[in-house]
Amino acid sequence: MTFQIKETPEIFDVVIVGSGAGGGMAAYTLTKAGAKVCLLEAGSYYDPADPQYITQMKNPWESPRRGASSTRPFGDFDAAYGGWQIDGEPYSAVKGTEFHWFRSRMLGGRTNHWGRISLRFGPNDFKRGSLTGIGDDWPIGYDDLKPFYDKTDKLIGIFGSVENMFNEPDGIFLPPPPMRLHEHFIKKAGTNLKIPVIPSRLSILTRPINNERGSCFYCSQCSRGCNKYADFSSSSVLVIPAMKTGNLTLINHAMVREVLTDQATGLATGVSYVDTKTMAEVSVRAKRVVLGASACESARLLLNSKSARFPQGLANTSGVIGKYLNDSTGASRSGFVPSLMNRDRYNEDGVGGSHIYSPWWLDNNKLDFARGYHIEYGGGMGMPGYGFGMGMQGSNGKYPYPNGEKLPAGGYGSRLREDVNRFYGAHIGMAGRGEPIPLETNYCEIDPGKVDKFGIPTLRFHYKWSDQEIMQAKHMQDTFEEMIIEMGGIPLGNKPGPETNYGLEAPGKIIHEVGTVRMGDNPNRSALNKYQQAHDVKNLFVVDAGPFVTQGDKNVTWTILASAMRTSEYIIDQVKANKI
C-alpha cells in the first residue's frame, strides 16, 4: 500500500465517472467524435461474450444452489455483481426512514441488471408540475429529447409497436415478439376491462441491426447478459465499441473519491480515485468532468468534493444536491389460472421479460392519487430454478385430477410428479411500477463521521413514502385482482392491505432512483442547467438519472441514454465554440 498520490501524465479531453447507461453513452458519443476520454469504473471488467463471465444458457444444476439468490440478489445466474449490500461500502438511513441502495460494481454497472424495458417519457411527463399543481416541471420538454430518443433507438435497437398514444410516444421499433399463451389471456382480460395491453418496448434485437451484434435467439435470459450482444448492456453496445475507436482509456477498479477543482478559476480539473486493487490514490487530469456514477453516487461524489471555494460540496450553491431522491413505486400480486393446467409442452422461453405491458390508462384527476403506473406481467413455462415446485401444499389439494379425484393438500410420492406437471405454466404475476412525487424531504446526505473502506465518506438516507404512493399501490392491488379474476384466475395469498401499505415495496427496492442532482433553469433551486451542466462549474456535467426532475411512470434507462447523448453533443458543440 502506498499513500503517495499518483497522477496520470495525460490531460484527457474528458474524464467520465461510471460506465453504466449514462457514462457508457457519453464515452461512446465523445470518443466517436474524436475526444480523448478516460472512463473510470469502480468495479471489474465485464464482457458478456467472454466465457469467463458467461452465465447465459447455463443449466440450473451447474449452480450448487440451483440459481438461488444467496450471493447475487437476483440469483446465481444474474449478470450483475453487487447488490443492496456490498462488503466495506456501507450506507445508513435516518431512524424511522428507509432506503435500499443497489449498486453494481462492474463494467456497464446496473445495465447488467435490468429488464431492458425502454420507455420514452411522454410530453406530459416533463410538465407534471404545471399540469397538476404538484411537483415541478423539467427545464426541457419532449421535443428537446425526441431527436435523441430517435437516435438512441437506431443506435441501440428496440422492439415495440406503433400505438399513437399521446403520452406513450412511439419509437423507431423492430418487430415485437408474438405473445405467449398466458399473455393472450392477459390481453383478453385487459380488453374486457378496458385496460390497454400492448407489446412491450424492450431493447432486444428481434432483427439484426449491424454486423457487430447478433439478433435474439429467444433464451429469455437477458438478465444474464447476452453473448451475442443481442440486447442492450452498456459494456457490449457502448463501451466496447468506444474502446475500438482508440480514443478511450478504460480504468477498472477505480473508486472515485472527489472531483478536483482549480480554486482560482472554480473549474473542474479532473478527479481523484482509489485503485481498489492496490489502495493507491490516483488523480486523473481532464479538461471536462462528466459524472455518470448513478444518482446517489454522483450526489455523494459532489457532496464529498468540498473545498474552500465550494464549502457545501461542488456545484451545490443551491444546496439541492441529494434532495428530491425518488424511486419508482412497486407492488405485485400473483395468481393461478386453472384453465392453464395440464398444458401442452413447447419452448415458451421467448425474449427476456414480458412480451406485453399495460401503459398508464386512467385520468388522475378522477382518482385519489396524483400519478400513474404501468403494469408488467409474468408467467409461462420458464426454466426451473431454485424455488420451483415449492409451496405445493398450497395448491395441490384444491384442484381435481383429470379422473375427477381430489386428494388432500400436501402428500408425497408419485402424485407430486403429476402435481408439478399439471400446474406447470399455470401461474401468472403482475407488478406495478409507478411515478412517485419527488419530495425535498426525501434525500441522501453525507453521514457524519462515517467512511467506507476506501476512506470515502458514506451516505445517509432519509426517505418516506407519502399518501400519494400508498394510494397508488392500493389502486394497483385492486387492478391486479380484477385482472386475475377476469382471466378466470385465482389471486394467491391475501390481498395486501393498509397494514403493508398495500404491498408497496420499500424505497430503493425497484432500483429506479433519480433526482439527487436536479436540473432546472433557476440556479437557486437546481444544481444543473437544462444541458445537465453545473450552474456553478461550466466544465462539469452529470449524465445519470441524478438530473431528472421526475421519473414518470416509465423506467428511466432510455431517458438516461437520450439525455446523456444530448449532453455529450452539447459538450462537443461547446468545445468547438471554445466555451469549455
Binding site: 444458457m57 400436501g410 408425497y412
Partner: protein
C-alpha cells in the same frame, strides 16, 4: 484431448443460429498440464469461487441426519417409470449444500430431524431409519397433509413441508427433472408464438 473437443455446439437451428459453450477452466488446466480440478464454469467472480469452495469443503449434517434426509427424499420422490428418484439424482447432497449456503435453513432442518427422531422413538422405540418402511409411512402420513394433521404434530408438518419443497426444487433443477417436466427451452430457437393448435384450443 484436442481443444476443439472441449467445444460443444449446443444446436444449430432452422434460422441458422449457433452458439458454442467453451469450458475455460478445463481448457486452461489441460493446457497447463495440471491435474483437472472441477471448477465453476458459470461466470463466478473470484469471491464467489472462494465462498463456494469453502462451503463445499464443509460438512453440516451428521451421517445419521443424512440418513433421515435420504430416506425422506426417497419417500417424497421415488423413481417412477424411466424417471429416477430424488436420491438417484443427488437431492440429499443438494439439501446439505443449501443448509450451508442458507444458514437460516439450518435450525428448521436440524430441528425438524430431531423432532422426527423423537416422534419415531415415542411411537416405535427406534430411530426413523431403523423402523420398518410401513411404520415410516405411518409417521409420514401423520405429517404430510397439513389440513388433516393434528395440532400436536404441527412441527412435523412444517418440517415435512420444507423437505417437500427442497426435494421438488432439487429434483426439477436436474436433467432428469427437465425430462420429467417436459421442459424444452434453454436452447436457441426462433420464437413465433405458441403452436397453432394450442392457440386454437383456447380460441385465440
Amino acid at each position: 484431448m484436442k481443444r476443439r473437443d472441449l467445444i460443444k455446439n449446443i444446436t444449430l437451428t432452422s434460422v441458422g443460429l449457433a452458439t458454442a459453450q467453451v469450458l475455460p477452466a478445463q481448457t486452461e488446466s489441460i493446457a497447463a498440464g495440471k491435474p483437472k480440478k472441477q471448477k465453476s464454469n458459470y461466470g463466478r467472480t473470484p469471491d464467489e469461487v472462494k465462498r463456494d469452495e469453502k462451503l463445499t469443503s464443509e460438512t453440516f449434517f451428521t451421517p445419521g441426519e443424512m440418513a433421515v434426509i435420504t430416506r425422506l427424499c426417497d419417500i417424497i420422490l421415488p423413481a417412477e417409470g424411466t424417471s429416477p428418484s430424488a436420491v438417484q439424482v443427488g437431492v440429499p447432497a443438494f439439501i446439505e449444500f443449501i443448509a450451508k449456503d442458507m444458514p437460516y435453513q439450518q435450525v428448521p432442518l436440524r430441528g425438524g430431524i430431531m423432532w422426527l427422531e423423537n416422534y419415531s422413538r415415542k411411537l416405535f422405540g427406534k430411530s426413523f431409519v431403523a423402523i420398518t418402511p410401513a411404520n415410516q409411512i405411518t409417521i409420514v402420513d401423520a405429517i404430510a397433509y397439513p389440513e388433516l394433521a393434528t395440532p400436536a404434530v404441527s412441527a412435523g408438518v412444517a418440517f415435512f413441508n420444507l423437505m417437500r419443497d427442497l426435494t421438488l426444487t432439487g429434483f426439477y433443477t436436474t436433467e432428469a427433472g427437465f425430462e420429467d417436466l417436459g421442459y424444452v427451452g434453454n436452447r436457441p430457437n426462433n420464437w413465433e408464438g405458441p403452436p397453432a393448435e394450442v392457440l386454437k384450443k383456447f380460441n385465440f
